[in-house]
């Protein structure tokens, strides 16, 4: 008790107005901010990959495999923040064993498993099978066995088998798009369905989440594609970059329109919570919402991406602008998640007071762990890339010729 009081003392000093005793301390901290951020990147990267596959956007083809692998790497890490947040992570297995169909939270495991096993893994497998077989034959030592295992012994490289791979891959992509929507829409739903919380409760929530996910995923691919190409000393494919940047621009325009719609809707409805939400924005979320999310994370990149469209700029400068915009967008989307998760807990259910979030530095729910979790997917991606290199020169047949075949 004494301990607890001591812990809460600094927060209590920042409490304004009237709040209930159990609202002083936030129960969902930065880990729960990291979680929707990461799943957003997964969904975004996957949707970008699907664009190439389903709508056959040739320009972004160099990022197709990379996006798939990125989505996989981030998806593998996505449950970790949740597990770290649980006091008894070992019990999480029980939601699989005794599925409770009426609980949205309990269904996460299934949405996740479906997406990981059926969508991502299968699509990657079908896409890579030909190369895996090739590597299983050409590599030496333990690698040979690893690739053999990965191929599941399906070594048939006949014309018919390869055609089937492509068809299956395309089919999975088509199931994959709604699945990606489901995965991230689901995360938005978790928040949007909390009817007691006026900051969260909104039917638009899943949709807004989804579009911000697409925005963040495309921006991530600009960064990852750019950086990996630089490190491999290859020229950056500017046609691809331009296309990615256009996608980013359009996705951002959609995203900002939806969020503005949500905002206007709330203002117009002006239900009783509007006053406290106004205070929330002007007092507690001013920096993270107005300055970082809207000004830095949305308007500035939007303006710079649009200016690229308006003026003819040299490649060098365009690249810089794309990079800058992508980084700003990442920061912006992270603070979007922050504003939803943390913001939604800062005001009292009495609608009469605000509390304060004090982030730990160390500790399992602290800042350091969160930073580690944010970088862990990149490490996983590095390993996956080592096993399944997505570069055109690593493939058995040039990817362009595959694309040609597939478009026939």
């Amino acid at each position: 008790m004494e301990n607890l009081i001591e812990q809460l003392q600094p927060i209590l000093k920042q409490v304004v107005g009237y709040i209930y005793p159990n609202e002083v301390e936030l129960h969902w901290g930065i880990l729960i901010v990291v979680y929707p951020y990461i799943t957003g990147l997964v969904a975004g990267a996957f949707i970008l990959a699907s664009l190439e596959r389903v709508f056959e956007v040739k320009e972004v083809q160099p990022t197709y495999r990379l996006s798939m692998l990125t989505a996989l790497a981030f998806l593998i890490i996505a449950p970790l923040p949740l597990l770290a947040h649980l006091s008894y992570p070992e019990r999480s297995i029980e939601i699989f064993l005794t599925p409770q169909l009426k609980s949205a939270m309990a269904m996460f495991g299934f949405v996740y498993a479906w997406y990981l096993m059926i969508v991502l893994m299968l699509e990657i497998w079908f896409d890579y099978r030909k190369d895996i077989v090739y590597w299983a034959r050409s590599k030496k030592g333990w690698r040979k066995y690893m690739y053999y295992l990965l191929s599941l012994g399906s070594l048939d490289l006949s014309e018919k088998a390869i055609r089937f791979d492509r068809k299956a891959g395309k089919f999975i992509t088509i199931i994959g798009i709604p699945s990606a929507f489901l995965l991230h829409g689901y995360v938005g739903f978790i928040f949007g369905s909390v009817k007691a919380n006026p900051w969260w409760s909104s039917v638009l929530m899943p949709i807004v989440f989804l579009f911000s996910a697409i925005v963040s995923g495309i921006a991530l691919m600009i960064l990852i594609y750019g950086v990996t190409t630089l490190f491999r000393w290859k020229p950056i494919d500017m046609a691809c970059m331009d296309k990615l940047a256009s996608f980013l621009l359009y996705a951002m325009i959609l995203d900002i329109s939806l969020e503005t719609l949500d905002f206007i809707h709330r203002m117009y409805e002006s239900v009783e919570s509007i006053h406290i939400l106004g205070q929330l924005i002007s007092q507690k979320l001013f920096i993270s919402l107005v300055v970082i999310q809207i000004l830095l994370g949305t308007l500035l990149p939007l303006g710079s991406l649009a200016s690229v469209k308006l003026f003819r700029l040299p490649d060098e400068l365009r690249r810089l602008i794309y990079f800058g915009a992508a980084i700003l967008v990442q920061i912006g989307i992270f603070s979007t998640r922050w504003n939803v998760v943390i913001g939604g807990q800062l005001f009292s259910k009495s609608l009469r007071g605000l509390t304060h979030y004090k982030m730990e530095l160390l500790g399992i729910e602290g800042l350091l762990i969160s930073i580690a979790l944010l970088f862990l997917p990149l490490f996983v991606l590095y390993i996956i890339i080592k096993i399944l290199p997505p570069w055109p020169e690593a493939a058995t047949t040039p990817l362009s010729s595959i694309a040609k075949e597939s478009s026939q």
């Binding site: 099978r129 053999y148 599941l152 012994g153």
Partner: protein, 261 residues
């Protein structure tokens, strides 16, 4: 082809005759293995009685049943103490169970002479429910424990099993019980109702036709609280000219209520 030493085909009779592409057959095998694993693990880890009755462990009911019982319930008491039960039945405390005050009595019911429940006679018991708290429903009988007959045990005036006030409320409180109760714990506890409302005698007989007066002007309160009012020295003062001049005093300080200071 390259020199590959494995014989990759699964040497299974009839493998070729299954009408699926090779990849699908292999994926299906993996999938089936996974599902079988999940089912096995589930069978092994899931509590055996889990879905029997619903989404919970049915055996949990038995383990709860096995917990020791502490409370006997009011019916059990009537077997031997029917006079108390009868007394309480019609009192204000009819909804307050015996064991709320006397503590768990299951072992007393089993063996009355061995285990006697406590009979809390201190002044501390009753205020657990009756001390003034703004969040209690209006009208719930509440007292200010400091001013309500201090130092005497509650039992000396209120029989706990039939706790009616020693004399029925008279005067205004007979009908305006809630107001009388809240006022009794307010700053104005010591003031008579008639100090602020002049009530014609007929009001008590025909209350709707003969209405008492109510304070109308700020200067009424100023009569006691104004800077220059001729009232007892300890009464807190405000400057009527500058203290929130645009509102009636009771818009902020409803004088019956304790919490509105």
């Amino acid at each position: 082809m390259l020199n590959f030493r494995f014989r990759p085909e699964l040497r299974m009779p009839g493998w070729k005759s299954i009408p699926f592409p090779d990849q699908i057959k292999r994926l299906l095998i993996i999938f089936i293995i996974l599902v079988i694993m999940l089912i096995t693990v589930r069978n092994y880890l899931m509590p055996p009685t889990f879905v029997k009755e619903g989404h919970y462990r049915a055996a949990a009911i038995d383990s709860i049943l096995a917990l020791p019982i502490h409370y006997a319930g009011q019916e059990a008491c009537s077997e031997c103490h029917d006079e108390y039960v009868a007394l309480k039945q019609t009192s204000y405390h009819q909804n307050v169970a015996c064991e709320v005050c006397h503590g768990p009595g299951a072992n007393h019911v089993e063996d009355p002479s061995e285990n006697t429940p406590s009979a809390p006679r201190q002044r501390g018991l009753c205020p657990l429910c009756h001390i003034y708290n703004a969040s209690k429903p209006t009208g719930f009988p509440q007292i200010n424990i400091v001013t309500h007959n201090p130092l005497e045990p509650c039992m000396s005036c209120h029989e706990p099993h039939d706790p009616k006030p020693p004399q029925p409320p008279e005067e205004c409180g007979a009908c305006h019980g809630e107001i009388a109760r809240t006022k009794a714990v307010s700053h104005h506890a010591a003031l008579e109702c008639t100090q602020c409302h002049s009530a014609p005698e007929a009001h008590k007989k025909d209350p709707r036709s003969f209405r008492p007066s109510k304070p109308r002007k700020r200067t009424f309160c100023g009569g006691c609280h104004g800077e220059n009012a001729e009232s007892a020295g300890e009464i807190p003062r405000v400057d009527l000219q500058s203290h929130e001049p645009d509102h009636a005093c009771w818009q902020c300080h409803y004088p019956h209520y304790p919490e509105v200071r």
